[in-house]
């Protein structure tokens, strides 16, 4: 198996392979049996709860946030945790907890949005590449190679340089950096199915090649894509907060965790709260999403293993 000869076998583990240079950590698959045996159920439950809270915060922040995120109180700026503010206040006297809760929407939106973009566009293009014949396939694969030639963050930066900063553009920028991995995986799956025995058999018995292809494509190609997606969401959240930290993400006053850290960093020694809790929010969320993602991966892989 060489680094870039993209056969289906390589592509199935595309994210883990050498070409997973999308700026996203290639997460190696743990072998299902062993992992399942060891998987700490309590940890998974906790992670699930964290994800649920994060999603609730993103969907209905008013339920969790004690105050509006953008109400300023200059007299009580940079207050420590305690008193009227559980997690303290920032330089403008805004409640840090409320801003973290409201920030979940933007941060998760970028994480899920970028991944969804990569999954949808990647699958469509990947299947198209597999189905449309050699010329199209070659062009698409070379284009993917070009995308892969950029370090993930570099690609995002270039996209932001072209489109300008903002939530939507940052999502697109990160989605673009995730795209090649999904495209390759989808293409690999599609190729494998196209050349598989049952599709050939279907053709032999006179059924339409296309319809069989499509009918087998969905149930077989979707699970691996979902696996790749779940393990990538966490990285996408980190990438989003990084763009934000650099001032290229969502624009004020919409609270975002990376931007909050950028604002708070000069005050770490006097008012640590504003520069610590948003970071904790990122780490805890990403850990939880990854744990849930891996559990999902094990389930799908397990089923996958039996299914073939």
């Amino acid at each position: 198996m060489t680094a870039s000869q993209a056969g289906p076998a390589t592509d199935a583990t595309g994210a883990t392979g050498p070409t997973g240079a999308t700026g996203i950590a290639p997460v190696p698959r743990s072998r299902p049996v062993r992992a399942a045996r060891r998987g700490p159920r309590a940890g998974l439950a906790l992670a699930g709860a964290v994800v649920a809270v994060a999603v609730l915060a993103a969907v209905a922040p008013e339920l969790l946030a004690p105050r509006p995120p953008d109400t300023i109180d200059p007299v009580n700026a940079l207050a420590g945790p305690g008193g009227g503010h559980w997690l303290g206040t920032d330089q403008l006297g805004r409640d840090v907890l409320s801003r973290i809760v409201h920030g979940a929407r933007t941060s998760l939106l970028i994480g899920f949005g970028a991944t969804a973009f990569a999954v949808v566009v990647g699958s469509l293009l990947g299947v198209f590449a597999a189905a449309a014949g050699r010329a199209v396939d070659q062009i698409l694969m070379r284009a993917t190679d070009i995308l892969l030639a950029f370090p993930g963050l570099m690609l995002s930066l270039v996209v932001v340089a072209v489109l300008g900063p903002g939530t939507a553009n940052a999502t697109l920028a990160i989605g673009a950096s995730l795209l090649p991995g999904f495209l390759r995986l989808a293409r690999g799956q599609a190729l494998a199915i196209r050349d598989s025995d049952y599709v050939r058999a279907a053709v032999v018995i006179g059924r339409g090649r296309g319809s069989v292809f499509v009918r087998h494509l969905l149930p077989n190609a979707v699970p691996p894509l979902l696996v790749l997606a779940t393990v990538n969401i966490g990285s996408a959240v980190i990438a989003g907060s990084t763009l934000s930290f650099l001032g290229l993400g969502p624009q004020p006053p919409s609270p975002e965790w990376g931007a909050m850290l950028a604002e708070g960093r000069d005050h770490l020694d006097t008012a640590w709260a504003a520069a610590v809790f948003p970071g904790l929010a990122i780490t805890v969320t990403v850990v939880a999403v990854t744990v849930v993602g891996r559990a999902l991966q094990r389930r799908i892989d397990g089923r996958d293993g039996h299914g073939r």
């Binding site: 300023i72 330089q91 403008l92 805004r94 300008g164 900063p165 004020p252 006053p253 005050h267």
Partner: protein, 542 residues
Amino acid sequence: MSPRRHRTVIRRALLSAIALACVATGCGTGPGGGDGRDGRIVYAVDTQPDCLDPQISPYDVTAALGRNIFDSLVAMDADGRIGPWLATSWQISRDGRTYTFRLREGVRFHDGTALDAAAVKATLDHTVAPQTKSQYAAGLISMYTGATAVDARTVRVALSRPYAPLLQVLSTATFGIQSPTALRANRGRTCLKPVGSGPFVFAGWARNRRIELDRNPNYAWAPAGVDHQGPAWAAGLTVEFIPEAASRFGALSSGQVDVASAVPPSHTGRLRHADGFRLLRADQPGAPYTLLLNVNRAPLDDVRVRRALQRSVRLDALVKALYSGAYDRAWSTLTPATTGYAATTEGSWPYDPDEAARLLDEAGWTGRDEDGYRTKGGTRLTLHWPYMTSLMRDQRALLGQGIQAEAKRAGIDVRFTALEPGAYLEKALGRDADILAFSWNRAEPDIMRSYFDSGQTGDKGGSNAFGISDPRLDDWLREASATRDPARRAVLYAQAQSRVNQQVLALPVYAPATLVGAADRVRGVTFDVQAYPLFHDARLED
């Protein structure tokens, strides 16, 4: 293995890995680290200049560093009076259009070239030459038509129209006189090889790291007001670029650098109370950080809406929260450190939410939408305020969010949006905005003309971004720029400042100050009238 031993192993492994990497890549110890400074002062700044030719670059950092490399024709003292420097005397023709300067004798540039009339002419011609691509200096002397060397020590400067602030302009670092030999030899590369006659000689520039300046051993022509005549005390100045405020401050407090510029206001309290350090502070002259309001389109074409905005922001508390008392809130479009500042403006437009609400009701913005913003005829009261991230020093992005939140309480939806430079300038020049904000450091009240004269619109290189056209302001500001009578100018500028506030053509926010942190071992760092630090009198003590 116990966990403790694991950790030790890991730590050792980490250090040896770094050591290995260093052997492989040869990391060395750069200058500025530790001892052995040989009397050089290490000075940390936040921005690297784009160019060291003061006639090309528009940036403060270039002027601030250039002030130690270049001398100007004349010098302005703290009270705004012009005194001799490279020119010992001058005469102004009756019509105000010809200035004749008599130059000091014995001045030599760093390359050995003697200062003469031709050198002054060369610098001025260089400023306005199209190939110089001056981004700021040329605009300041747009009335310059040429210079003639009457004799070696006398130069005559001709103007197309009288311009009273000319001497102030020529006193700035932006008009530091360059060696004509170097200008000729380095054509196209003057950015990288500044040659002046100042107390420090440019010695080298390691990109993104530092600029080295050495003492000029022949220096003997400092302007009045310095502590000592003759060469600078310090053997040299090492200017380190440390963009991160916290790192810059950390480098100062750990002794890696002796002086640090741009101390974050939030750190000034600690600096004042820390042993072994001092805070040096100089108020900046010119225009404070000011919100320019678009009076030529709805909704800010209605003075009541502008006034409502003016009265709904708790500027005192906001500026205090963000700048910890290091900067003062502004009351006027000139800062208190500027000649001609009208102290009468102070307190003239206090925070008054009831008045703001009354004004908005009166202007017809009586409806409320589901988000609590005021509406008129179904349209939300929305103000667009684009900004450029690169200009957002001093936590101005946060300040903008504060103003936005205050406006929201009054029912005004301020859209504070970051744009990249190209898109920003497109909006700004197309007047497709309601608010634009910036500050301008200049020790001359004539800066107001750039903001409010109807002839100084953005497309002509001025700062009157929204094309304010107020005949009275035009008259006053133009007369003030042509007259040399200080009393008359004071009256005119006071009138202009109060008119701007009354009409709410702009919303002044805070008056910036230069905040420099210095270790106690460094003595004698001073400031010029533009609040740029000077190192001629600075020395390291043991």
